[in-house]
Amino acid sequence: MDVFSNLALGFSVAVSPINLFWCFMGAFIGTAIGVLPGVGPVATMALLLPVTYFLTPEGALIMLAGIYYGAQYGGSTTAILVNVPGEASSVVTALDGYAMARQGRAGPALAIAAIGSFIAGCFATVLIVIAAPPLTRMAQQFAPADYFSLMLLGLTLAVVMASGSIVKAIGMIFLGMLLGLVGTDVNTGNTRFTFGISDLFDGVGFVIVAMGLFGIGEIIKNLGDPERRDLVSSKIEGLMPTREDLRRSAMPIARGTILGSFLGILPGGGGVLGSFSSYSLEKKLSKTPENFGKGMIEGVAGPEAANNAAAQTSFIPMLTLGIPSNAVMAMMIGGMMIHGIVPGPQIMEQKPGLFWGMIASMWIGNLMLLVLNLPLIGMWVKMLLVPYRLLAIAIFFFCAVGVYSLNNLNTELYFMAFFGLLGYAFIRLGCEPAPLLLGYLLGPLMEVYMRRAMLLSRGDPMVFLERPLSLTFLIIAAVALILVILPNIRKARQEAFQE
């Protein structure tokens, strides 16, 4: 069968000693840098893109892919240990993972994240091999109207799943959307909220906002909050998850894998939507939803699996269509272009060794990460025992280096400092920054898709209701919203969060 001959070809490329070495290097560097708080996969890949220039195309792409999933493992690690998500999709992991770490259960949280990611990674790799062609055809059916409705659904779910005040969550989402709108309007070319500063014409970078709100803001809070140190370093019992942990995680990992695999294929969706959707799904299915955010292992297992599955399946549109579904895939395309390979549908036919070799390397890389990470969890946990005043300086330093390395602009460092202060203010006011980040990411996309859909329908708003996919998303969003607004459910929800 084709599947087997393709896989055989892929493995013959991926297990050649030199490619095995680059795969290991990618996974290792990715994890190491991903562990450093505030430096996520995009920044890591951007930093290391020039290095791949000196490798063969196969080696370069295998290493870049390794950096990506390596950094994601590492990003989850910092999300759990120090509540600094390396990237948007780890935001959810931080909710329960960090709570677990504070209860002295950092080890099981990290182990479950690694195991969940590995299972999801294996599944997603097999999925890519078997289902790449038909799944790509399905994702291609999406029109701008469908994207708009999907994102509306995503934001609605973000409100529903936000802990604490709904009003604050909605407020943060809208603030995030406003932030996302800073810059040049795609449709008219007008610059919005830029105050004439040309460094703002392209908007405020995701890394800047994320590092400021989650990195710097958290550091300020922690430095002014001495008792927190004792809580975290109190006692760390057992690194391995218990049988009970594994039993509770099994289904969330399975559900997260399937959900993430699907969402990863959608351009623009990827890991973020996957992990957020999985978290809200687990919360909805749980018998004790009120415990989410307080250290539920399901809240780590599901989103981590979904995140990693989505991370891998997001290679599908990139590999088969040459379309980057997120910033990381844009980096991968950059890596191909450095070697003069133009991404597109011809790659699978013209460079089967490269195509299948990279896919095979994903599985090998995931195995390496599991082998690499499980024994090293002890080392990551020890990082918690580093005095916070030293760790804080290191985080500051790497945030600054990471932000500066993106565009070599001093102003972006000032912006990051500003978001750091803003993040601190939000923490003091009891506003969750996660919905803000989601609004920031999805808001401008929603606007663009809505206006594009309207443009293509020549101004007819019925386009959102006429397309079956779009209509389905809108109905689900409406149902979710009505459920939260209904008086008795709202009361129950408030009581649940107050506990």
């Binding site: 951007a46 893109l49 220039y53 291609q140 059916q141 999406f142 029109a143 701008p144 040049t184 795609v186 449709n187 008219t188 070319g189 007008n190 610059t191 040309s198 460094d199 014409f201 392209d202 351009p267 269509l321 040459g322 379309i323 980057p324 844009a330 980096m331 395309i333 950059g334 272009m337 450095i338 003069g340 133009v342 991404p343 597109g344 549908p345 011809q346 565009n407 070599n408 602009l409 663009v448 594009r452 443009l455 293509l456 020549r458």
Partner: protein, 323 residues
């Protein structure tokens, strides 16, 4: 340590700016790494063209030609940075004409393309053309024009954004043939391609569509260049199709900050011309659907002036506005 390094660099910059370059020093150029500023993020078409150049130039000059990506504000930030660099022959701008002959016609730029830079050399023109989605029906350029005339406003095209050459090319076509096609701007050409492949928009003009033409997913109607693309020998140019003066070139070039010693820009230009005529560079450029025209710095300055005026007229005629 960083402070000392900074002071050292500042000192070197001051010294380089203050001392007039002697002929002997210009003859030794380059005796240290040369920086090429790209006004866009890595991974785009500018990066794609700059890579082979930096590789080959580093080899023939024996000094590293380093790419520095300074993206932002549609290319304005990097171009401004290059305009303010010390004109000592160790910093150059590598840019598409977007920042030089398009953007200044649309908004106030913090640099003057004619005064802030000295021309150095042409680096490559993109050889691509209009594509149409096969679901629409037309199989060639004439059928497309007939279809658009019979169904005004029914076709739409995707561009890489307002004021980009991908928009200007179609506006020029509309202007020349009197057909009506709706413009849908995207954030970059990869994004536009995303909507073109399922047929949500039906037309586009970029190099990233060409692999899909080869795969049979899109139909290439014509080439917007003075000569055909050797990989698509059967596709005629616009001029061959009887639509004259309708090309809106997308051309890449090297520029020096104004005041760079003439000996250096002349020596650099001579080397670029020599390389552009060689088979190695021709092959590398063909692989990315580009061709390098040969020009002296003076011809290049005149060409920029011509290109800028043509774009200004088109922007006025098509009523393209940014602010």
């Amino acid at each position: 340590m960083r402070r000392r390094e900074f002071l050292g660099r500042a000192g070197a910059a001051v010294a380089a700016g203050a001392l007039p370059l002697s002929g002997a020093r210009a003859a030794a150029w380059p005796d240290k790494p040369v920086k090429l500023i790209l006004p866009y993020a890595p991974g785009g078409a500018t990066d794609l063209l700059a890579r082979p150049w930096s590789e080959v130039l580093s080899k023939v000059f024996g000094q590293q030609f380093v790419l520095e990506h300074r993206g932002g504000a549609g290319g304005m930030i990097g171009t401004e940075a290059a305009s303010k660099a010390t004109p000592d022959g160790y910093t150059f701008l590598f840019t598409p004409n977007a920042t030089m002959s398009v953007l200044p016609n649309l908004r106030k730029t913090p640099y003057d393309p004619m005064k802030s830079f000295d021309p150095v050399g042409r680096a490559g023109d993109l050889v691509t053309g209009f594509v149409i989605h096969p679901s629409v029906g037309p199989k060639n350029f004439k059928e497309m024009v007939e279809y658009a005339k019979a169904n005004p406003g029914k076709l739409s095209y995707g561009s890489a954004g307002l004021g980009t050459a991908t928009q200007m090319r179609l506006e020029m076509l509309k202007f020349k043939t009197g057909i009506d096609i709706l413009h849908v701007p995207y954030r970059g050409s990869a994004d536009a391609l995303n909507d073109l492949l399922p047929g949500n928009v039906q037309m586009m003009n970029e190099i990233n569509v060409l692999p899909h033409v080869k795969a049979g997913k899109l139909i290439l109607l014509n080439i917007n260049h003075s000569s055909r693309n050797p990989d698509f020998p059967d596709v005629p140019t616009l001029t061959e199709l009887g639509v004259s003066d309708a090309d809106v070139p997308i051309w890449y070039s090297f520029w020096a900050p104004a005041g760079t010693p003439k000996e250096i820009t002349a020596a650099f230009n001579a080397k670029i011309v020599e390389l552009a005529n060689g088979d190695d560079m021709k092959g590398r450029m063909r692989a990315i659907n580009s061709q390098v025209p040969v020009q002296t710095p003076e011809e290049m300055r005149a060409y920029l002036d011509l290109d800028s005026k043509r774009n200004a007229d088109l922007i006025k005629a098509a009523n393209i506005k940014l602010e």
